[in-house]
Symmetry: C2
Subunit: 154 residues, 2 copies
């Protein structure tokens, strides 16, 4: 399914919560309680986002996490690569190792083209976009459905 990992999905949920107040410092516990994601998991995700410079952490008492910049400048690509490493569909798109068949596989450079397109698509969507109210279009969705996050995954 060309899927993202659960953690990445969680990350978007966490970030969209944090974006409600761009400057506030949130503790792991707070975030876990609000999102319904287990605390150790939240912690793991937050650490990865700090490494990727999407969040800033403050240690010690009164510490916590806050967005490193305004939601408009945090892209989906940022989030995905924070959690899953470089965005690439195939190995040969990132590794500088060879990827040729004896009979000659001209595919590589075209994969990299596709990758660029996809990367661009992901760069063009920011956290600010993500938290915009959904464009009213479909019917079922816009009713206020209340389902805990944990049930998202089968």
């Amino acid at each position: 399914m060309l899927r993202l990992s659960k953690l990445t999905d969680y990350a978007t949920v966490i970030l969209s919560f944090m974006a409600k107040d761009e400057t506030q410092v949130y503790t792991t516990m707070e975030i876990a309680a609000t999102t319904g994601i287990a605390m150790p998991t939240v912690s793991k995700i937050l650490k990865l986002l700090v490494n990727a410079k999407v969040l800033i952490s403050t240690r010690g008492a009164k510490g916590g996490y806050a967005l490193a910049r305004v939601p408009e400048k945090i892209t989906v690509a940022n989030v995905i690569s924070a959690l899953e490493g470089p965005i690439a569909l195939t190995e040969c798109s990132i590794s500088q190792k060879g990827c040729e068949q004896a009979s000659g596989c001209g595919i590589r450079s075209n994969w990299s083209l596709i990758n660029q397109t996809i990367h661009h698509a992901l760069e063009s969507v920011t956290l600010a976009d993500m938290i915009k109210p959904a464009p009213v279009k479909d019917t079922i969705w816009n009713q206020e459905v209340i389902i805990p996050v944990s049930s998202l995954y089968r």
Copy 2:
């Protein structure tokens, strides 16, 4: 890494080989020998491609597989969805099950937008494009490097 499965990658290799002669019927053994992919694995991939109507199979002696249509009409999206199911980054993009947080997750519809963009990117590249000679651009790549496919993956 937002990655495709190995099988999908293999599939593109197999298809690009088969596209060399659009009309020829290839046996599993032939394909396995040429690509260096183990026969049972090739067989599995070919069956999935038949189910997705990308290939046509002929049983019995002198049987084998052939492209179901010209390479120009086989898209990367076709191949990916044949091997991995519907193209979607998140669960909520495909399942009709709910995906809302109590606090309101406005993310979903924007994911579906991203999905559409990516899907479009994948639809726009065909097998014919994939087998085009690589646009001469980078240096290392265009030397005739000979590496067996099996080494592609760590």
